[in-house]
Amino acid sequence: MTSISGTNHNNTIQRCKIVVTGSNQSAYSILMYITNPFYNWNILNNEITNTSGQGLRVEAFGDSLYDMNISQNNFHDIGLQAIRFIDVKSHASSTSSPYGISIDHNIFTDIQRSAIETTAGMRYVEKHLNYIGYNTALRIGSDAVPNVNAFQLNWIRSAIIEHNYIDTIRTSVPDGDGIILIIPSLIITICVIISSSI
């Protein structure tokens, strides 16, 4: 795995091929372990595979994560989620979610769980746009895995989601949605497709 932790800013990983093989689901291609402010990060134009675990995993502990670009990467043949943001506190709050996050122009193919999954959410901060656009997701999920959605977006606020192409989502039981937005505290589940092709 590629391990990134501590206070980090102004860093870039680009044009790398990151390959993880084996049967361990807890091995990640890239792990970002965030216990201090973490900003101005770029993950650009990489090829990322992981036969059993997650591609990019971001673990946030309520500290600031902002201005991160995940662009033009090729995620393929991944055993769990391709991109997963989690807040390891009991729940994401209005002041702990990342902001200025852009996930754009990526390709996701043959992903066993969601292509993008966040329980950490995203929040509004002026001049720090949250954007999920121009991604292509093909062959997401598996007949053996329940509740797979291509983009599982919890606690997403003030994000533009547009021009994503999603095709062929498989799951053993629903949801099986292309894009799902969930706000758990309100017990409202919304399935919304915004300018996307499913």
């Binding site: 795995m1 590629t2 391990s3 990134i4 932790s5 501590g6 206070t7 980090n8 800013h9 102004n10 860093n11 870039t12 990983i13 680009q14 044009r15 790398c16 091929k17 990151i18 390959v19 993880v20 093989t21 084996g22 049967s23 361990n24 807890s26 091995a27 792990l31 201090n36 059993s52 675990g53």
Partner: protein, 105 residues
């Protein structure tokens, strides 16, 4: 990231100056705008640990653009690449491989 004239000059100089072992990265003090070459097509069976931050402007760990990407194989360790509390670093054009995916945390 731009690659200006002084950077292109260093690209030409790279083959003779390429590191023979990746462990050198762990002790070198990164300096502003300096490129640190990694030889293309080679395999290191040791993790790459970025142990210093660049200063002010991004520093570079990079590979020569000709031939196969250099491979860093992290088997038997926690990671192939670690960037722990470091800033102003660009890691590019490396083939990072983990073949022994045991849980180590």
């Amino acid at each position: 990231m731009g690659y200006g004239g002084r950077h292109r000059h260093k690209l030409r100089m790279a083959p003779d100056n390429a590191w023979k072992t990746i462990s050198k990265v762990q002790c070198i003090v990164l300096s502003p705008g300096r490129f640190h070459p990694v030889q293309a097509g080679e395999i290191w069976r040791e993790p790459l640990v970025i142990s210093n931050s660049g200063i002010r402007e991004p520093d570079h760990i990079w590979s020569i653009r000709y031939g196969a990407l250099p491979k860093i194989v992290g088997s038997g360790s926690d990671y192939a690449l670690s960037v722990d509390s470091r800033n102003n670093v660009v890691v590019q054009e490396l083939n990072l491989i983990m073949t022994d995916t045991r849980r180590l945390e």
